[in-house]
């Protein structure tokens, strides 16, 4: 295991896609210290920015201790091994990740797990916007793997998601599961409005309050509980289907108890009025 500690408080953004077990494996500390990173527009080596220490086991693990909230692309395209961060971490954590595990004891910036296809990201603090979502213009969202966030997430979590799962213990911002086609998102807290916008498939489960429901969703019924992956979450839940303007049949489960503001609409529609 290689342990990295920042040498200073960073100011300019640091792009460090080399911080990944795939890159570190088989390299000595000296070799790792020579890896190139960018600090703003200046090319640096990892060794100029971080102090290193080494532990024999586990071999394929990287630990970062300290605030790396300015460091971007940690675990980019990672395929195996493990990264553990004790502190906040910057944008694009585990972007395009294909395997392995990343754990953050702190918060993560936007685009964590962007377009990942396998592996596990667990963030014990909050995460920014675009959790698991692809970068601008791309429609290739998350296609596998798991993201767990123990606190809140920003807007557009799970956008363009095709498969895999996202579990949010806190609350979610607007446009949760935007243009989602498959996979599952579970929110234990509340969700801001526009959840499921443009969704055509997949499953969003909101255990708390959904601020408002989009007009292009229709009520399908009430379900006592719902399975999200291997886990059974008990309700009861309203089941809405949409986004109808996209011809979608995405499923939006919303806690019945926590969303009394939706009950007049549900009652009216169920009564066929």
């Amino acid at each position: 295991m290689i342990i990295l500690r920042p040498k200073k408080e960073f100011k300019a953004p640091i792009i460090a896609e080399c911080i990944s077990p795939d890159v570190f494996m088989g390299k000595s500390i000296d070799e790792v210290a020579k890896l190139k990173v960018y600090e703003g527009n200046k090319e640096r080596t990892l060794g100029e920015l971080f102090n290193f220490s080494y532990e024999k086991e586990p071999e394929d693990k990287i630990m970062i201790i300290g605030d790396v909230s300015k460091v971007r692309k940690i675990g980019f395209n990672m395929r195996k091994g493990e990264i553990e961060v004790k502190g906040d971490v910057g944008m694009h954590l585990g972007a395009e990740m294909k395997g392995g595990k990343i754990t953050v004891f702190g918060s993560a910036g936007s685009w964590a797990g962007s377009a990942m296809s396998d592996g596990l990201i667990e963030v014990h603090g909050s995460a920014g916007d675009f959790l698991g979502a692809p970068l601008r213009g791309s429609t290739s969202g998350m296609s596998g793997g798991t993201i767990v966030v123990h606190s809140n997430v920003g807007d557009e979590a799970g956008a363009y998601m095709r498969d895999g799962s996202i579990r949010i213990h806190g609350s979610a911002g607007q446009f949760l599961g935007l243009r989602m086609r498959g996979g599952a998102i579970l929110v234990l807290g509340d969700a801001d409005s526009r959840a499921g916008a443009f969704m055509t498939g997949g499953r969003i489960v909101i255990c708390g309050t959904l601020r408002s429901l989009l007009p292009a969703f229709t009520i399908e019924g009430v379900r006592p509980s719902i399975k999200v992956g291997p886990e059974k979450v008990s309700g009861p839940f309203y089941l809405f289907v949409g986004d109808l303007t996209e011809g979608g049949d995405g499923q939006l489960f919303v806690s019945k108890v926590r969303n009394p503001h939706l009950s007049p609409l549900v009652t009216k529609v169920m009564a066929g009025e």
């Binding site: 692809p134 213009g137 791309s138």
Partner: protein
């Protein structure tokens, strides 16, 4: 004083001068090919074991202007995967299907191309095209203004006033500093103004009492009256629709009687997209044999391939209604851009897939056209960049043309049903280097009427490409990969007498010329045109008459071709 250069010992392919792989030394002085230079003073390039050709000439490649730039805007995901880092001599940029301006220039130059024409610019946005051309280094360039749906053209042709029409076209081309007359889905774009289209060359254009046939014939006559160096450049009606090869034949036939001498009067562009047989996408088949048959029997038309490449690219044409159909077909993102009184445009990203029946058929059509048309001077290599694929993939097309084995290799990976129906497997023909030189430089240069381009005779512009492949040792049919590699990265590119590329890398950045036609009609006619336009300008456009023409000083290096019209 400019450098003198001497290219020694290369195998020269210069079809315009009939040189077919002979060892000829090429002498260069002051940007021109000369008889000889002083060997002691000149820089010597040893081209032993290499091919020497005139610089590549591309007569149809969407590289600048409003539509291309909207395509760039639309596709950040296309740029992210392919970018260029700044070097000491080059600017940074992005690449793949719609490269940024600098990158476009560098990449053409690295392939040994030295002249490129953009085929579709809305005249109202010509200033934009020139701004981008001013930022496109390394190549000589120009563009064709879109004229087939310009209200003035429609009205004059409707009223039978061909001479007035010609005078207005002359004013427009000279004002916007364009090069040739371009027609795209004539009549269809005007109809698209209200969301409609035309479906044959005899389908009337709404509100104008005129048909595409009238427009094509009218502008063909205008082109002849104006003595323009290039033929009318036509993107036919019904492009991209199964069964459209008959429209293409109709289009070629409808100007047959206008031909004088043996000079081609119509260029049917990216013919692959308009050579579809069948009644729908499931029954799509190649109409290339029929079209090739017609072209083999007639002298008034030329074509370019519009070859597709199996890749993720961006389609962009002025054919608004076609792009809308493509948007509905693919569900991908869609840009439409209609331009008042003139034209329209559309953009849709697309991925051509080997497993797709339709895409496999399309691939075969392009190659069949090139291989079934016997006279190489009549069909040129293009991918209709970026519609069929980015221009950087030309070397792949060269390999397919030169090697039956290369074609078979690709066919093995294609949709089986498509391959079973193709004519292509039965075609043995393989292009020679001489024919490649025709299809990629001599032919387009001659078609464009660029007398100093596309050849290495004395007096020609010193635009030269040298490729590191030995024609005496390499058998392109079997060793097509070596050929492909050589054409991807020129050993040397010489532009206007200066070495700008070595071993596929830019060693010197420079600006090429912007080539345009300055057309002179009779002064009295020109005066009438100006007077009439001044009076009616605001009826047509939302900009002022004074602000429409582009002053010559706007072009970073202006190269006007002075043309004396018959009217």
């Amino acid at each position: 004083m400019m450098m003198e250069l001497l290219i020694k010992n290369g195998f020269v392919y210069d079809p315009i001068n009939g040189i077919d792989g002979e060892r000829v030394d090429i002498a260069i002085k002051d940007g021109r090919i000369v008889e000889r230079v002083d060997e002691r003073r000149a820089e010597i390039i040893d081209a032993s074991g290499m091919i020497v050709m005139p610089g590549g000439v591309d007569l149809h490649s969407h590289i600048v202007g409003g539509k291309v730039n909207s395509g760039r805007l639309l596709r950040p995901e296309d740029h992210r995967k392919d970018y260029e880092v700044k070097t000491k001599v080059t600017r940074s940029g992005v690449g793949y299907s719609i490269p940024s301006t600098f990158t476009t220039g560098y990449r053409y130059s690295r392939m040994g191309y030295t002249t490129v024409m953009d085929p579709a610019i809305a005249p109202l946005k010509a200033r934009h095209a020139h701004e981008e051309l001013n930022d496109t280094p390394m190549i000589d360039k120009g563009f064709y203004p879109l004229l087939g749906d310009w209200w003035f053209v429609l009205e004059f042709i409707r009223d039978g006033k061909i001479e007035e029409c010609a005078a207005h076209v002359a004013w427009l081309i000279s004002s916007v500093k364009g090069y040739a007359i371009k027609l795209v889905n004539p009549g269809g774009l005007e109809a698209w103004g209200f969301g409609r289209n035309v479906d044959s060359i005899d389908d009337p254009v709404p509100y104008f009492n005129i048909t595409p046939r009238d427009i094509i014939r009218g502008l063909c006559k205008v082109n002849q009256l104006l003595n323009l160096p290039h033929a009318i450049h036509i993107h036919t009606n019904n492009l991209g629709k199964p069964g459209n090869y008959t429209t293409t034949l109709d289009t070629m036939k409808c100007v047959e009687d206008l031909a004088i001498d043996d000079k081609p009067i119509a260029h049917v562009t990216h013919c692959q997209f308009n050579a579809f047989k069948g009644v729908n996408w499931k029954t799509l088949a190649s109409g290339a044999p029929e079209i090739a048959d017609y072209v083999n029997k007639h002298k008034h038309v030329t074509l370019d391939m519009g070859q597709i490449i199996f890749t993720d690219t961006t389609t962009m044409t002025a054919d608004g209604p076609f792009q809308y159909i493509l948007y509905k077909l693919t569900g991908n993102k869609w840009v439409n851009s209609d331009v008042e009184t003139e034209t329209s445009a559309g953009i849709v990203p697309i991925r051509y897939r080997r497993a797709s029946y339709a895409n496999a058929v399309q691939w075969s059509i392009g190659l069949e056209l090139a291989l079934l048309i016997k006279d190489t001077w009549k069909v040129y290599l293009t991918t209709d960049h970026p519609n069929g694929g980015p221009f950087t993939e030309y070397p792949r097309v060269i390999a397919w043309l030169m090697s039956r084995i290369a074609r078979e290799r690709t066919m093995k990976r294609l949709n089986k049903r498509a391959v079973a129906k193709m004519t292509l497997p039965s075609i043995d023909r393989e292009y020679t280097f001489y024919e490649i030189a025709i299809a990629t430089r001599a032919g387009p240069a001659r078609s464009l009427g660029l007398k100093n381009k596309g050849h290495l005779g004395v007096g020609a512009d010193a635009d030269v490409a040298i490729y590191d492949v030995n024609p005496k040792e390499v058998n392109p049919s079997r060793q097509y990969k070596l050929v492909r590699r050589a054409f991807r990265r020129a050993a040397y590119t010489i532009k206007s007498g200066e070495v700008v590329v070595k071993n596929g890398e830019i060693v010197k950045s420079m600006m090429g010329d912007t080539i345009w036609c300055n057309i002179h009609v009779m002064p009295s006619l020109a005066e009438d045109v100006a007077k009439g336009l001044k009076k009616r300008f605001r009826e047509y456009w939302t900009v002022e008459y004074d602000n429409y023409p582009i002053p010559e000083k706007y072009l970073s290096i202006s190269y006007p071709m002075e043309i004396k019209a018959k009217v």
